[in-house]
Amino acid sequence: MAVPVAFFALFFAYPVTAIVGRGLKAEGDWQFGRIGEVLSRPDILDVLWFTTWQALASTALTLLIALPGAYVFARFDFPGKQVLRAVVTVPFVLPTVVVGTAFLALLGRGGLLDELWGVRLDTTVWAILLAHVFFNYAVVVRTVGGLWSQLDPRQEEAARVLGAGRFAAFRRVTLPALAPAVAAAALMVFLFTFTSFGVVQILGGPAYSTLEVEIYRQTAQLLDLPTAAVLTLVQFAAVGGILAVHAATVRRRERALKLVDPAQTSRRPRGAGQWALLGGVLLTALLLILLPLGVLVERSVDGPGGYGFGYYEALQSVGAGGSSTFLVPPLEAVGNSLRYALVATLIALVVGGLAAAALTRRAGRLVRGFDALLMLPLGVSAVTVGFGFLITLDKPPLDLRTSWILVPLAQALVGVPFVVRTMLPVLRAVDDRLREAAAVLGASPLRAWREVDLPLVRRAVLVAAGFAFAVSLGEFGATVFIARPDNPTLPVAVARLLGRSGELNYGQAMALSTILMLVCAVSLLLLERIRTDRSGEF
């Protein structure tokens, strides 16, 4: 518990408080009047309203579309399942600029919908919502699916023989058991979409703006810290409210469940209904995720002289035409990204794992409060954190402002909530009697944790690690702000390429994005392979 608290206090609470304080304090006086002032601006209210409703709508839509996916991934065996599970996580790491491109190709002019039905959704709110689903599909599939695959299917069978139809059994038995995981996923999706930045900018056009966009503008461009501070507080309040609702509803629902080995619960689909469901989910994933990703891949190989790997080859050289766009060849960005992501994942796993373990065992207001606090980083703008680092971590021994560790630290800040939220529902579902069984067989509490909790949450840990890794790999907001010597990560490199005219730059950006996708997918696949077989310890 001490480690997570210290981490959180030092690298989140302190910097964010400092930057907000700096904004609200002019010449030593608190300027609380600014709050009312800002909040009475109609444009800010518009932004607040839009931010809230689009986040709610996106969350609902994501759950609607992704829950069947979670079911299919948890309960069915089909060829290519693991690969597909990794692939649907790929959007998560993609820079929003790139995603915008892909979605425009799908929904905009000359896109698939345009060609088929003459429908264009770009600059409508639908484009934003669908892109949010695209981004966060995996959040639901992985957090919910992780627990789902371990739920005893006999619970549902018990409902069926009592006369419940498939859906009734799901709603009344499975859903309550899954509720904590669903709530955790919904919470994360809400936070992501509430703080959505690039998607809204690119697909919404200048007409739509979120609080996050506003905070970014006020901080990074206008240096209007008072307004930024007020907006940050507003965002805090909204996020805090959601967290409180979440904490209140979930705590009551968390029960020990009979968890089973996931290998026992998935089988090939049976009957027309199940095949149809599988088909539907695969089709959704194809249309919503694979197709946009495919557009990127297609563009990365679509050179002036027809299809080829010209852009990829260009990536290996320092620069075309004797000049250099990069001091380091872009491929080195792969190495940079992997290094940062690895460190960030480790930090997130250690801090988040310790926090989750502590939160499982202990109850009480304070602990629950801490549980909610841990989620706050997801609801705080990357600029706020970045600028906060800048004004706080400036004295020895913690003069980290120019240190490379700041990047993974900021990335871990987003990873920790993931780790906690994916692990907790499973940990809390572990029947305490299993731990007791281990104890009477001679296992100390620590050993019991290792032997019972760990294997049962291993899936969740892997899911969490995968997310933390993906988040770090794809993180752009904080990374780009934190002063770093010139070792760009993949998203930074992609952004730089896209920030230049020239066909080669564009092509290389697509190629690099494709590489980013591959790196992500391969890493996740490797991660899934780290499952010591069940008898390993014997």
């Binding site: 018990a158 069926r160 023989v161």
Partner: protein, 346 residues
């Protein structure tokens, strides 16, 4: 009511159900007996439609159930491990099936109260299932399965964790209830006493097949095979050659009832048919372990050069351990079992 035809379920190589044919008439109570792992639970799950079959058919009221989803089959199943819903309290667990069938609130509450009373847990509606003892959980599971009054009710070890007293009371009350409601019941039990007390018919399973089927008295009095006899707890089973009224066995000549099949058979001598007398009287045995069984004592007798014999004596007549006694056999308590290749029930 229920008819199984060549029902087969395979897990990998092994068949948990191996071409089982079974007919259960309306309003009957049938108990399924069999060793652990013989396929009893699988049988119930297959009937319920929870376990896809590799072969064969399930008919309910003459209708083939292939393709009929579980909740439309109109049957009830109490799981061996209960599977109570941890998110619901006791009352809401019991009420679940009623709610699924659209029963009104008032009736539901009344039925739940009534059933909790039946199983000896009056007023437990609001308790959390996790805070119940093992037996209490089993009783809630039983109440939950009874609540929707299904036409065909399947119970997997419904009373296994209850003490004898409660069990006997419940057996009586359940029989009455089932008769009133006209419920057809297929119940798994490992307790022969319970099976005999509850059932109109019993089915003995072995390795996924039906080893014997009949009324309890039938099965008890005439086990169809050495397996069934042994399963019923009779250890005095031995190969024998029957000629007329006597059988030649390892224990010497044993009288058999009139009309017994002749030739190479398996022979069962019930412990009650092993009469202990003076050492010079009949088969000479040393008295081994004596096990106190409440009403009587079981004595292991060790003949010279022959398999162990088990005898049942009244408390007062029990010989001392280590004593040497003589043994005679009572023809009324011997049964000629189906031997090699003999038709069952012969």
């Amino acid at each position: 009511m229920l008819s199984l035809q060549a029902a087969t379920v395979r897990f990998g190589e092994r068949a948990a159900l191996d071409a089982v044919d079974l007919e259960v008439a309306d309003h009957r109570i049938v108990c399924v007996l069999g060793p652990s792992g013989s396929g009893k639970s699988t049988l119930l799950r297959a009937v319920a439609g929870l376990q896809p079959m590799d072969d064969g058919r399930v008919l309910l009221a003459g209708q083939d159930q292939a393709g009929v989803p579980v909740h439309r089959r109109g049957l009830g199943l109490m799981f061996q491990d209960h599977q109570l819903f941890p998110h619901r309290d006791v009352g809401s667990n019991v009420a679940f099936g009623l709610r699924m069938h659209g029963t009104g609130r008032a009736e539901t509450n009344a039925r739940v109260r009534e059933l909790l009373e039946l199983v000896g847990l009056p007023g437990a509606e609001r308790r959390a299932v996790a805070a119940l003892s093992g037996g209490e959980q089993q009783r809630v599971a039983l109440a939950r399965a009874l609540a929707p009054r299904p036409k065909l009710l399947m119970l997997d070890e419904p009373l296994g964790q209850l003490d004898r007293n409660l069990r006997e009371r419940l057996v009586v009350e359940l029989r009455t209830l089932f008769q009133e409601l006209g419920t057809t019941v297929l119940a798994v039990t490992h307790d022969q006493g319970e099976a005999f007390a509850l059932a109109d018919r019993v089915v003995v399973m072995r390795d996924g097949r039906i080893a014997q089927e009949g009324t309890p008295l039938d099965v008890w009095q005439r086990p169809a095979s050495a397996f069934v006899a042994r399963f019923l707890g009779f250890d005095n089973v031995t190969p024998a050659t029957v000629t007329g009224h006597a059988a030649a066995t390892a224990w010497g000549k044993v009288p058999v009832p009139e009309g017994s099949p002749q030739g190479e058979v398996d022979l069962l001598v019930r412990p009650a048919g092993v009469r202990i007398g003076a050492p010079e009287d009949g088969l000479r045995c040393t008295v081994g372990v004596r096990t106190f069984r409440g009403n009587h004592v079981t004595v292991r007798l060790l003949p010279e050069n022959a398999p162990v014999l088990e005898a049942e004596c009244a408390l007062r007549d029990t010989p001392d351990e280590g004593a040497v006694v003589g043994v005679r056999f009572d023809a009324a308590e011997t049964v000629v079992l189906a031997g090699a290749g003999m038709p069952s029930g012969a």
